[in-house]
């Protein structure tokens, strides 16, 4: 009996090893361990054994059952795993193939720069004013302390439509338009982005149409040092924390004193290079303290309030920031140009 069991075990294990499908494994299980299988038969015949032999034999039967059953399970697991592997192998794809493009456009670089500047000044409590592109001579010039025969009008040769109306040469007319509405009650904190126009022949550095962002702050105790502080945070946020600024005296009819702001060159850090023409500094914008005549004409009392104003060119800032070499690119709209501004 003992021998018979050993033989059965060996037979079974051999068949399990040979099995190559789940069905075979199942058949072997039924054949050996099933209710009609030989081992069950042997168990049933154990009643004939002596009381001494019976437990010993019982133990042996159990051991052999367990051995076969374990082996069956192991085989089944192995086969299942192989099947899964086979399937995964079949499903393998070439992950180097290109992904499905997501259709998406992007901002024009000028909008990108303008929105960045807008956000920066919004954060400093400024709001955004917009005004007409066709202006009256009064708002474009006279209200900005540029009377009709002022020599500085030469500086900005303009596109007139009639004697009294023209395409605005700067977004500064919104200074007067905004202040007039407030009847002398400050504070005023605005920036004015928009298109402006000057009689220039289009070339790599000139454009008859371009963008400008004007800034204006009027209130009690607004100082030139505040202008410097505000512009400093603008420069650092726009061009990097390491940027220094310097103010140089300049002249604009609507500010007194007037300044131009330079930033330390972001290309060479101030040692001098081609971007900064060897000076270490790059001119970014003009500004100054609002001229008392401008305040007065717009209904503010220059004895009570002071203000600063500045104006900058998004084209110039974009050209510097991104290294763009020709201002005409902004208006030609080559898709290869615009598409470059889709990343951070």
């Amino acid at each position: 009996m003992q021998e018979r069991l050993q033989t059965l075990k060996e037979e079974a294990l051999l068949q399990i090893e040979k099995a190559s499908s789940m069905k075979e494994v199942q058949d072997i299980r039924v054949a050996y361990l099933g209710k009609k299988g030989p081992i069950t038969e042997i168990s049933k015949g154990m009643g004939k054994l002596s009381a001494e032999e019976r437990p010993k034999m019982g133990q042996l039967v159990n051991e052999i059952r367990t051995a076969i059953s374990d082996q069956l399970e192991e085989k089944a697991n192995g086969l299942e795993k192989a099947a899964v592997e086979e399937r995964l192998k079949k499903e393998t794809i070439d992950i180097s193939l290109p992904g499905r493009p997501i259709k998406r456009g992007n901002h024009h670089p000028l909008t990108r720069v303008i929105e960045e500047i807008e956000d920066l000044f919004l954060g400093m409590g400024f709001s955004i004013a917009e005004g007409p592109e066709v202006e009256t001579d009064y708002y474009n010039f006279e209200a900005l302390n540029l009377p009709k025969d002022h020599p500085a009008r030469d500086m900005q040769d303009s596109f007139y439509i009639t004697e009294e109306t023209l395409l605005r040469t700067h977004t500064s007319p919104m200074q007067a338009r905004t202040m007039e509405k407030l009847n002398g009650e400050g504070p005023v904190k605005i920036i004015v982005p928009g298109k402006v126009y000057r009689r220039d022949t289009d070339d790599a550095t000139h454009s008859h149409q371009f963008m400008q962002i004007e800034g204006l702050m009027v209130g009690e105790n607004v100082r030139m040092s505040d202008l410097k502080g505000v512009l400093q945070s603008f420069a650092k946020k726009m061009f990097g924390d390491e940027r220094e600024i310097r103010l140089r005296p300049s002249f604009f009819p609507f500010t007194e004193p007037s300044v131009e702001m330079d930033i330390s060159c972001f290309n060479c850090g101030g040692n001098g290079c081609s971007v900064c023409k060897g000076t270490g500094w790059i001119e970014i914008l003009g500004g100054g303290m609002v001229h008392p005549n401008v305040l007065r004409m717009s209904g503010f009392d220059p004895e009570k309030v002071t203000g600063f104003a500045f104006g900058m060119g998004p084209e110039r800032i974009a050209m510097l920031k991104y290294g763009i070499d020709d201002i005409r690119h902004f208006y030609t709209n080559d898709s290869r140009f615009i598409k470059q501004f889709n990343t951070l």
């Binding site: 290109p98 493009p101 259709k103 998406r104 456009g105 992007n106 024009h108 000028l110 909008t111 919004l122 954060g123 400093m124 409590g125 400024f126 709001s127 955004i128 007409p132 592109e133 066709v134 202006e135 009256t136 020599p151 500086m155 596109f159 439509i161 009639t162 395409l167 504070p187 904190k189 298109k195 126009y197 022949t201 008859h208 149409q209 702050m217 209130g219 105790n221 607004v222 100082r223 030139m224 040092s225 505040d226 410097k228 502080g229 400093q232 600024i245 103010l247 300049s250 002249f251 007194e256 004193p257 131009e260 303290m289 002071t306 208006y331 030609t332 709209n333 290869r336 615009i338 598409k339």
Partner: protein, 802 residues
Amino acid sequence: MLVSMNWLQQYVDLDSYSADELADLITKGGIEVETVEKLNKGISGVVIGHVLSCEQHPDADKLNICLVDIGEEEPVQIICGAANIAKGQHVAVAKVGAVLPGNFKIKKAKLRGEASHGMICSLQELGIESKLVQKEFADGIFVFSDDVTPGEDALHYLNLNDEILELGLTPNRADAMNMIGVAYEVGAVLNRSIDLPSPELVRTEESAEDYVSLHVENEDDNPYYGATVIKDVTIASSPQWLVNRLVSAGIRPINNVVDITNYVLLEYGQPLHAFDYDRFGSKEVIIRRATDGEKIVTLDDTERTLSSDHLVITNGSKPVAVAGVMGGADSEVQQDTTTILLEAAYFNSKLVRKASKDLGLRSDSSARFEKGIDRNRVVGASERAAQLIQEIAGGTVLKGIAEQGARTVEAKDVSIEVTRINQVLGTEISETEVAAIFERLQFSYQNFGGTFTVQVPPRRPDITISEDLIEEVGRLYGYDNVPATLPITESTPGQLSDYQKKRRRVRRALEGAGLYQTVTYSLTSPSKRIFFSDETTDAIRLAMPMSEERSELRTSLLPHLLEVAQYNKNRQLENLAFYETASVFLPDGELPKEQEHLAGVVSGLWQEHLWQKEKKSVDFFVVKGILEELAVEFGVEERLTFARADEPKLHPGRTAAVHLDNELIGYIGQLHPEVEKELDLSETYVFEINLEALLKANVDHLKYKKLPRFPSVTRDVALVVNESLEAGQVKRVIEEAGGAKLVEINLFDVYQGEHLEEGKKSLAFSLRYYNPEQTLTEEEVKKAHDRVLTAVEEQFGAALRS
């Protein structure tokens, strides 16, 4: 303004400052130095030579063999081809080993068999611009007129060791358009004293008034006029020092008298004019307005027609000069001139500006008058010129000046408090520092307890109000020393307006849909203005356009977007998707109505994923989908409708008018094939809408809708209708008939062809019914659905497709 370092050194001690250092300080002080230029363009080894002999080359007609003393033991032989070379001249010699501009090295050479040890130079070869070379040397070598020593460095004599600062002057700083003004500025910046010329004159017994009878008709036009008379003048070339000064300032030397007037113009900023007294035509000098149509031939030999807006100098009968702008040809100083009438005047700047503009004549003289000259320097300048003419041209100066008007004006008082200066600048500058700054500027002042009353000299007409003094103090105190602070006024919330927020959302929505933003010009051509617009509206046209291409304001964005499409297509970029938001300009009152539009152009492939064999071309529905998506974004999807439309430049079968509520706000469609052909574009779809109408539409606030609590029921229905029937019409009828419980209608198939009668099509809709109160009963659905089927049958004869 070009400022020679060597010249400036005459008035201010510049020792220890290099040109670059000085430039930096001047720039920081408020006058921008745009460039610093070395006149020596890389020259070395050029010395003065004395031509000992000069004979024709035996084998070359145009060459000379010269023996030249260059200060070495032996004279050297040099072959020279210049026509004006002659024995006895002192010339500039580039020795063997010398370097000329452009790194041109001089080597020993043989010319037609004769050895040449160097080169005799023209001024051009030494790097002087042709336009600055005196006529006599224009086509040949340069010859020194002064007493010079062979072997000495020629660069020194030619002022080629100088450096030139180019000042970029803002209109307010006309005071620095002359060397004396620059000297004041540099003296203030460096805090050094300055030394100005004080001309001393020997005058004869004869009086200028015997020669000139002066009358200024209107002293507002001409507040001061002075005529000095100088006799026995010999016209000749100027001495080298004077030539050098003019060349360094970019002015070509002509002859001694003209050069002197130019020199004084540069030094004092005072335009002077020298008339040939004998050619003047009379003793009378009358300054008056020209009569309309009066003519004068100016120095440049051009006949000019004048008007009563112009001020002229006349000899009593006809104009001899346009005041402050240019002299006449008839009275010009010439080689045989012996007596000079020297004009030094102060003309009304507006009149000079007007004449200069009308005649298209801008001269060094008019530029200075226009910007304002120093009234108190007029007489000094004429004395300076007279003195130089006496010294250089051998003239004798007659006693007195024939003059009319006051020679000088008073200084103007302007006051400022130190506290105000600090309040405006945000600084803490002391009274002592303020006083020191006014002293550096050479302004006299009184200080009473911190209030400075400054006597502003007429040389600084830009300073008229106290803020101007704040600037003077600030710029010399140094803006580097002004702290950077944050404003201390009440805080204000910074935020975008609703409209601005919405505009940003429009951009993001369109870009999310795959369109790229463009920015194009507002000015367009007449034909582009009316390309998509009503031809009958008036143009808003520039008074003086620079070109027809940019002469009128646009009324539609599409023409320039189509230009962008053409530009890209010409560069093989054919899959296009662009949009722009910008104002168009419509005639209105004094100012046009500016309306913000949104336009787009799409063409080529819309979707493309090649290795998965996916390609989808742009069609009408791509563009429509974009606008529908935008309508959803702004909560007006129910109110934005499309109606078949006919627009001349668009495809008649593929165009829709876009309405918001009942207002027409724009169009979408395919370009008319003829237009596509004309513009060389492939199938192209466009849209343009009035963005303001969309963004200003009132919409309810976003409100949460309860999530469905009961199941809904969906019924699909395929309706066979006439092929000309628009799906939109069917949908509207279904919508009406379905009632409140029909909550969603989706068109999921449009079919035409096999199994359908000719002229028919099948429209398949999926209808979803829902009751928010309770689970729908079969009864309810059937009732509603039957109404739908009845309605479409009654209205369109629609049959259910079997």
